[in-house]
């Protein structure tokens, strides 16, 4: 039954390995929000319609 200890270590290693790869993928824009950019466009259109296009210059970082 000592094999169980080895199995647990292997299982946890695989799980941690998956997490590392997943975090890497997320940090490298593989899982970017599909909607965030659409919200950007919507909220900027709101600003532009009210204040005019030149106001965008002021809001830029």
């Amino acid at each position: 039954m000592d094999i169980l200890y080895i199995m647990v270590v292997v299982s946890l290693s695989l799980s941690i390995g998956f997490l590392v790869l997943f975090f890497w993928a997320v940090d490298h824009h593989q899982m970017s929000s599909l909607d965030a950019v659409a919200w950007n466009a919507l909220e900027e259109a709101e600003v532009v319609n009210q204040d005019g296009i030149q106001s965008l210059d002021k809001s830029k970082k």
Binding site: I16, F18, D35, W39, E44
Partner: protein
């Protein structure tokens, strides 16, 4: 295929550019990308351009970042993408935009940690349930503890944050009882592990956190998708508009349009502002606003709206509203406002509901704990907390506001405050202005009578009438082309409600007075220097759907009042069409102040429907104000509701939408009460475990979404 002929210019794109060491950067949102082939087509168009240093697609191809050399012409690239059939919208890199993206990434990471930990803990739990004993049992419990710690400390951060906010502001939300249950469950399990007891629930805690996070993420994605689908296709992007400037047509940014501009729009181009059709005829595709698949043929003078598309030829439009004040702009503004503020309306109910759930869970826990049944105490109270769902209040109501606003807009109705829709049911009194509201806005002036006057008198009369915006005055506009645009100057202009207008022209005193006559045989008496000069016949036909409107209102048991500056005969002719028992106040030759005081006297249950400048104070006084197109610049921002098409049947549509909103809300609350009472009760009786509760709860959320979608699909 977008066949717009207006192009981007570098000037238009400049505010969106970022300087980089190699040159410039531009971020774009591309509407219409829905598969890998779309991305491939766009990539293919970028490759030949050697000024592009590199590019990156994100968010499923919706976001494109371009890095270019200093001499790059981004306008050509944007035009090339648009020629492929995609709408291109440049973006600035705002903090909010990055924040939203960052939040999504963090949520994904937390969900992944919860999934991995919960999966592994369940493997150990299965072994324990199947009889693992002795050192393995203890080993698996300790491993479970080690794995549940990242779930509670990292993955469940949003729940702790929500609980903290709830306690800090004393506005209870569901994160509070869940947070309390997770904390209590963890410490109870830890104590049991150290004391060698059996009440260990690390598996339950990990799985519940995973299911809660994944269902919240799915729900948010789905609800956000509904909002975006309804709103983002109204975003026109940044583009040129063709306006008449200094004797010729110039292309300017659509954001530089002003009221009064003449706009030229060609086939395939999007109309950039709300306005009035100057061309004799136009074929306009209104699908984006109304969903109609067939383009409509519009006549001169008809309203044209921003966001619609010219289907044939080229048309000239007189701009009446721009930007946020257009019909679609107002709809987007209101909808965005409610996306942000929608929770405020329901927080009181969510707060009370949560307090009730906490109380029920505490009582259940105490009941079983005092009997020494710790497992039952924890399992039942935890299940009750998880399965309870105030979804009807927390997102059902904001969705109802969004859908009802869109349904109204498809029917030409702009609603500034969606909350008024459900209140319509409580109102039993309605006041109408007459001219322009119940009758046609444009009064017909008899041509023979007008051209019977001497040419000089024609010009003077036109100058006097066109000094104000009134349905009778508007009826004279058709004579402008015959008489010519050079009209004499009017001094000391005065408007006398119910009587007429007067002014001084070239030293002569002119006056136009209302002449008593039967309805449809109205006359205007023209005076020059105090002497009667001529009688002009005018007629203002009742709107087509007037009979149907009155019938519908009578059926709804409304008291119908007519408040008019016109003479008594004209008002009585309309009143005759209303049964006696449904007649309210019939006021003729009323000043704006008299209209206002009449509305005031009717109290809190009066709806006022009007159009002209002389209705403004009455509209402001009424608890619910409905504005017809007329003096748009003034009334649209003051009225709660605007009927942009001017049809009386839209008043009926408004009430039908109100009925739908009320019906949907009632069904929603009935379902929520039934679901919560039944499921919380079953959980308390021990029939639903915490894990099963975590699975059932999102099902109720999606049921709420379905009820709202079906209830407000159409009128």
């Amino acid at each position: 295929m977008n066949t717009a002929t207006l192009s981007f210019s570098e000037e238009l794109i400049r505010p969106y550019l970022f300087a980089t060491p190699e040159g410039q950067r531009l971020e774009l949102y591309i509407k219409g990308v829905h598969c890998g082939h779309c991305v491939y087509k766009i990539e293919k168009s970028l490759k030949p351009n050697t000024d592009i240093l590199h590019y990156r697609f994100e968010s499923g191809g919706h976001r494109l970042t371009l890095w270019g050399a200093p001499q790059i012409h981004f306008s050509q690239i944007l035009q090339a993408i648009r020629d492929l059939g995609f709408e291109v919208i440049p973006l600035t890199e705002t903090e909010d935009g990055n924040q939203r993206d960052l939040e999504t990434k963090q949520n994904l990471k937390r969900l992944a940690v919860a999934a991995v930990a919960a999966g592994n803990i369940m493997l150990f739990s299965v072994a324990i349930y199947l009889g693992a004993d002795g050192e393995f049992r203890s080993f698996f419990h300790r491993l479970s503890l080690a794995l549940v710690l990242p779930v509670l400390l990292y993955s469940a951060q949003s729940i702790w944050r929500g609980s903290y906010q709830s306690l800090k502001t004393l506005r209870f939300n569901l994160d509070l009882p869940i947070g309390l249950a997770l904390g209590f469950g963890f410490f109870m399990s830890l104590y049991s592990l150290l004391a060698g007891l059996d009440h260990i629930y690390f598996d339950t805690l990990a799985v519940v956190v995973f299911i809660i996070l994944s269902s919240r993420m799915m729900l948010k994605y789905y609800v956000d998708g509904i909002y975006l689908k309804n709103l983002v296709h109204f975003v026109p992007g940044v583009y040129q508009a063709r306006v008449w400037r200094e004797g010729g047509w110039s292309e300017i940014s659509h954001t530089q349009l002003s009221v009064g501009d003449r706009l030229l729009v060609r086939r395939g181009e999007i109309v950039a502002a709300d306005g009035e059709l100057l061309s004799k005829e136009a074929v306009i595709d209104q699908a984006v606003l109304t969903g109609e698949t067939k383009p409509r043929v519009m006549a001169q003078g008809d309203p044209v709206f921003a966001g619609t598309q010219v289907a044939a030829g080229e048309v000239e439009i007189l701009v009446r509203q721009v930007g946020a004040t257009t019909r679609v702009g107002q709809y987007v503004q209101t909808a965005l406002h409610h996306v942000r503020e929608g929770q405020e309306e329901s927080f009181v109910w969510v707060s009370r509901f949560t307090a009730f759930v906490i109380l029920a869970a505490v009582v259940t826990f105490a009941f079983f704990a005092f009997q020494g049944l710790w497992e039952a105490a924890f399992q039942r109270s935890f299940a009750m907390i998880i399965i309870a769902c105030p979804c009807a209040m927390s997102f059902g109501i904001p969705l109802i506001r969004l859908f009802s606003g869109q349904l109204a807009m498809k029917n030409g109705i702009v609603i500034r405050k969606p909350t008024v829709l459900k209140k319509l049911h409580d109102f039993k009194s309605i006041c109408f202005d007459k001219t322009g509201t119940l009758t046609q806005a444009k009064v017909k002036v008899n041509r023979d009578d007008f051209f019977h006057l001497a040419p000089g008198d024609q010009k003077a009369l036109l100058a006097l009438e066109l000094s104000m915006d009134h349905p009778i005055s508007n009826g004279f506009k058709e004579f402008l082309s015959a008489v010519g645009n050079e009209l004499p100057v009017v001094e000391n202009f005065r408007y006398r409600p119910g009587l007429g207008i007067e002014g001084d022209i070239g030293g002569d005193q002119w006056a136009v007075r209302s002449y008593e006559g039967k309805f449809n045989e109205k006359k205007l008496q023209i005076y020059k220097n105090g002497e009667a000069l001529s009688l002009l016949r005018v007629s203002a036909d009742a709107k087509e759907d007037l009979d149907e409107l009155f019938r519908d209102l009578v059926q709804r048991q409304f008291k119908i009042s007519i408040l008019s500056g016109d003479d008594a005969n004209a008002v009585n002719a309309l009143a005759d069409q209303i049964p006696l028992e449904s007649r309210g106040v019939m006021l003729s030759q009323a000043t704006p102040e008299q209209k206002e005081s009449t509305v005031s006297r009717m109290g809190d249950s009066c709806i006022m429907v009007g159009d002209g400048i002389n209705d403004i104070i009455a509209l402001q006084k009424a608890p619910i104000s409905v504005c017809m197109p007329g003096a748009l610049e003034n009334n649209m921002s003051l009225a709660d509701i605007t009927l942009t098409r001017g049809y009386l049947k839209d008043v009926q549509t408004l009430f039908k939408i109100g009925d739908r909103v009320l019906g949907t809300e009632r069904r929603l609350f009935a379902f929520t009460c039934f679901y919560n009472l039944m499921c919380v009760g079953l959980a308390g009786l021990g029939w639903i475990s915490p894990v099963a509760a975590a699975v059932i709860m999102p099902v109720s959320s999606f049921t709420v979404l379905t009820l709202v979608t079906l209830g407000l699909r159409r009128v």
